[in-house]
Amino acid sequence: MVDLINVSYDTQIPNNVGLSEDRKVLKALEKWHPGYINWWNGLIPEQFQKSQVYLRTAVSVDPKGWASFGYVNMPEYRWGVLLAPQVEDRKIPFGEHKGEPAWQEVPGEYRNMLKRLIVIQGDTEPGSVEQQRFLGLTAPSLYDLRNLFQVNVEEGRHLWAMVYLLHKYFGKDGREEADDLLRRSSGSDEAPRMLGAFNEETPDWLSFFMFTYFTDRDGKMQLESLAQSGFDPLSRTCRFMLTEEAHHMFVGETGIGRTIDRTCQVMNENGITDPYDINRIRELGVIDLPTMQKKLNLHYTLSLDLFGQEVSTNAANAFNAGIKGRYMEPRIDDDHQLTNDTYKVWDLVDGKLTHHEVPALTAINMRLRDDYVRDAAGGIGRWNKIIEKAGIEFEMKLPHEAFNRKIGVFANLNFDPEGNLLSDEEYKAGVPQWLPNKSDGDFIQSLMVPVSEPGKYAGWISPPKVGIDSKPGDFEYVKLHMA
């Protein structure tokens, strides 16, 4: 166990922010850290806390070798505070302050806005760990178990990163907000996480893969926009977080890909050509493709909700203030101030979906969501390649953005996955084909049995093509603690 009293913050916490000389942050972290360790210990089942997990740890920001791999007891993981290197003479890249030197301290006038954005971002990080807390018990392999924990510790580190900003730049309020990040908890009646998708359950491994593919990709888009921030410490923090986030989406994409691959393989081995022959496919212990499509529909649409209202004052304010930019801001060919630009957003006129132009400044959320939709489409193509290669006639699809939405112009309206507006009855009749129901969940759950022998995989999922850190197929990614 970590010695809570005598943590050497300089040696225990990899950092490039001069932590050992920063009395203010040290004092705050000393108070916060025990709560964090309690949170972590209360969260992950004990047998895994005591296991040796082959994890990567961020130890520097050198792009050539920022991480080191090795066996770690998770409670002793070195959650670091690392910011991407400072760019000399960095200027605020957008908004009304465009061209002014980037802020190294919090500008008073934007203090609340910045704090709110950091708190919301920070709230998602531990939220996902909480959602995934029991998955370790049903991991389909040690490889997957290790990936789960990798994602978990890195989300934990991202929480650290946000807490560092709160402690360093937001004084007493910041410390209170940092405490509240540990007080809220996913799905809690008492104090739920701030965003809906982070209060949903992640009941099984397919959900986990869908979550890391779709929901962590929202995280990526948010981090990309915050990485543009005129508030330099936030920008630098987020830039470094993005290097880790890529792995999470990799886990999601390959996880879904391997599940699809396995299903196709079993179908072929058993001469099943009809992907809708669901009962027979399920009897063979793999997840049928239509059910995977349903899971996709659910996680994709939940993630779309995370982008908020299409037309948003808060987003406009944050952009104009130079606090939160757009995806790939430097590559966008405009004035980066959006003085006269417009952008197309969805609208519903007389029951028909249409696009209409609104001031681009107010459509920042819509634009980011559009970028997200494009980004998310990539994996779909690769999954369909797997299906096509197996000779099965089925195509995974992103449902229409209007489907199953709780936020924005489509909220609580009855659209089918093609974007047709339906009556209550039509919609009710269609839902079982579009979204996973309890029996789908029960079936997937029935497949969730742990496999803990190195190199072995549960029957519903294929092994990965390559190992982590180029390790061989039978590498023991987790040395399980046997009580």
Partner: protein, 553 residues
């Protein structure tokens, strides 16, 4: 914004609120229909409100008292997730004419005062059960409740973000109730009112911004428990059944006149004058309180109050260029006093009490109307008791003296009753006569000695109850000249002068809201920093900040 705004509604027409009744407890849910704005050009997102939403609330509060006297606790909450109420709709405010904004704020203020006073007046206690964001006008709604419960989910907060976000004030009583009602320390209030995100959890309780902070998982239970507990503690007597408030009999004419059953509004548009003529009772007073209940919404004094209330609101919002309101009455003062007497003698009866309290509110509404107002005490008039209060509410009163040629109506008289001496306090908490004779208790005593006497012009003048008495020869000319002069003045100067002269004497929370807070707010509503093209209110939603002229004025 030129369409007629109607202040009459009923539960079958509600779009924004839902009420369920459960014995002594009423559950009031705010569930604003985004597309249900009174005007085009904005959507009422996040339970934000416009005048239409508030008209429904006012109707609910009114019906709660008359139709549901069994209710002792009203729990106000949101039917939407994650938001209690986001306050007045900013786009509506940004797009509204100054005059609309001002009238909107006044009406919402009056509605807040009405449900706030419901505990003291009617034994109906309002609880705000706050879950989710409760900002600006949303917190002001809660502030006007008698008890605020906030959930401690580490996200829900109460906030007054107007100053940092919009460069205007929390003008629906917000600033005033924070200090005067909740007694928040002024420096903490300063922090609170300049922090956009507000205050949550324990701190909100410590700062006295809310009465109780409860764990989120126990929230619904605690709210229910408090509602029951307050209902049990209530001193209000049990009433089985209320009366129904039916629709008003009302017709609008092309020329702008409005006909009710007891009130006639006629408009002289060229002269910018509206005449509000009140009819006395058309039947004898009921002899017993049961008879009054039987009459229900047809009871004379209730019907008259409802009609007069509606007429005033109509003139305020729909007849902006009518600068002078002239009150007149015709009827039998003795009969009117008989109607009033039944109420006065049965103040412990719920309906009598409600009608009297309603008159208190209507008279305050008259006091607060930003138009020049006069009363003409003509022959045949019935300015007695509660209607005599109108004489002390308006800016000036003129009374006919002696017989007029060709006029065989009874000579003009004024009759005071006990109710002129305490039943209808103004917002400064003094009676109108106390305000009129501020620092002159002897005059009040002299008036009191004459209670029940039909005072003719000379006597009324001597007692200081009217501004001027005029005989047959002078009447028409004097009145005409006064009116012509009055409407020739600057409406702004008139509004300012009248608002100052009407409320002599001590400040109360109410006068501070309608005087200090409103006046500053209305000043800010005229300043470029808020409403200029680059002002914060205009720019809200565009993503661009307001540009401020930094000169302190």
């Amino acid at each position: 914004m030129s369409k007629l705004i109607d202040f009459q509604t009923d539960p079958s027409k509600y779009r924004h609120w839902k009420v369920t009744y459960d014995g002594a407890i009423a559950n009031l849910y705010m569930d604003v229909d985004e597309k249900g704005g009174l005007f085009d050009g904005y959507e009422l997102k996040l339970n934000s409100y416009d005048l239409g939403v508030d008209i429904e609330l006012a109707d609910i509060v009114q019906r709660m008292r008359f139709e549901h006297p069994e209710v002792k606790t009203v729990v106000m909450r949101s039917a939407k997730e994650n938001v209690f109420c986001a306050g007045a709709n900013i786009r509506m405010l940004g797009g509204a004419a100054h005059s609309h904004k001002v009238n909107f704020c006044k009406f919402t203020n009056e509605t807040r005062n009405t449900f706030e006073a419901a505990e003291k007046d009617s034994g109906q206690k309002y609880i705000a059960a706050v879950k989710g964001a409760c900002a600006g006008g949303g917190y002001e709604l809660a502030l006007a409740c008698n008890y605020i419960i906030l959930t401690d989910d580490s996200t829900s907060s109460v906030a007054l973000p107007e100053v940092p976000l919009l460069a205007v004030l929390p003008g629906t009583g917000g600033l005033t109730r924070v200090t005067d009602k909740r007694k928040v320390r002024r420096d903490l209030a300063d922090v609170f009112c300049s922090t956009e995100e507000g205050v949550k959890g324990k701190k909100a309780k410590d700062w006295k911004l809310v009465d109780e902070v409860v764990p989120n998982s126990k929230f619904d239970d605690v709210v229910e428990e408090r509602a029951k507990q307050f209902a049990e503690q209530s001193q209000k007597s049990d009433v089985e059944k209320g009366i129904h408030l039916g629709p008003l009999s009302r017709t609008f004419s092309e020329d702008g006149s409005v006909s009710y059953s007891l009130v006639e509004v006629t408009i002289d548009r060229e002269a910018q004058v509206a005449y509000i003529s009140i009819s006395g009772p058309d039947a004898d007073a009921p002899t017993t309180i049961d008879e009054l209940v039987e009459q229900g919404d047809q009871a004379y004094l209730l019907k008259l109050a409802r009609e007069l209330d509606d007429a005033i609101l109509h003139l305020r919002l729909n007849e902006m260029e009518i600068g002078l309101l002239v009150f007149k009455s015709q009827g039998d003062p003795d009969c009117l006093l008989a109607h009033e007497k039944l109420l006065n003698e049965n103040q412990n009866h719920w309906l009598a009490n409600e009608i009297l309290c309603y008159w208190k509110r209507v008279l305050k509404r008259v006091d607060l109307t930003s138009r020049s107002m006069i009363a003409l005490v003509e022959h045949g008039s019935c300015f007695a008791g509660v209607l005599a209060e109108l004489l002390f509410s308006v800016d000036r009163s003129y009374m006919m003296e002696d017989e007029f040629e060709g006029d065989n109506r009874p000579l003009a008289t004024i009759t005071l009753s006990q109710s002129n001496f305490g039943l209808f306090p103004m917002s400064n908490d003094l009676t109108r006569l106390e305000t009129r004779f501020l620092g002159d208790p002897a005059s009040i005593d002299s008036a009191k000695d004459r209670v029940g006497e039909a005072l003719e012009a000379a006597e009324a003048e001597e007692l200081g109850l009217v501004t001027m008495i005029l005989d047959d020869i002078d009447w028409d000319d004097e009145i005409r000249i006064f009116m012509e002069e009055r409407v020739s003045f600057s409406p702004d100067a008139m509004t300012g002068m009248e608002a100052n002269l009407r409320f002599a004497g001590p400040e109360t929370m109410e006068t501070r809201i309608f005087g200090r807070l409103t006046a500053w707010q209305n000043w800010i509503f005229n300043r470029p920093n808020a409403v200029g093209e680059d002002g914060a209110l205009q720019r809200y939603g565009t993503g661009k900040r307001g540009v401020y002229n930094k000169e302190r004025v």
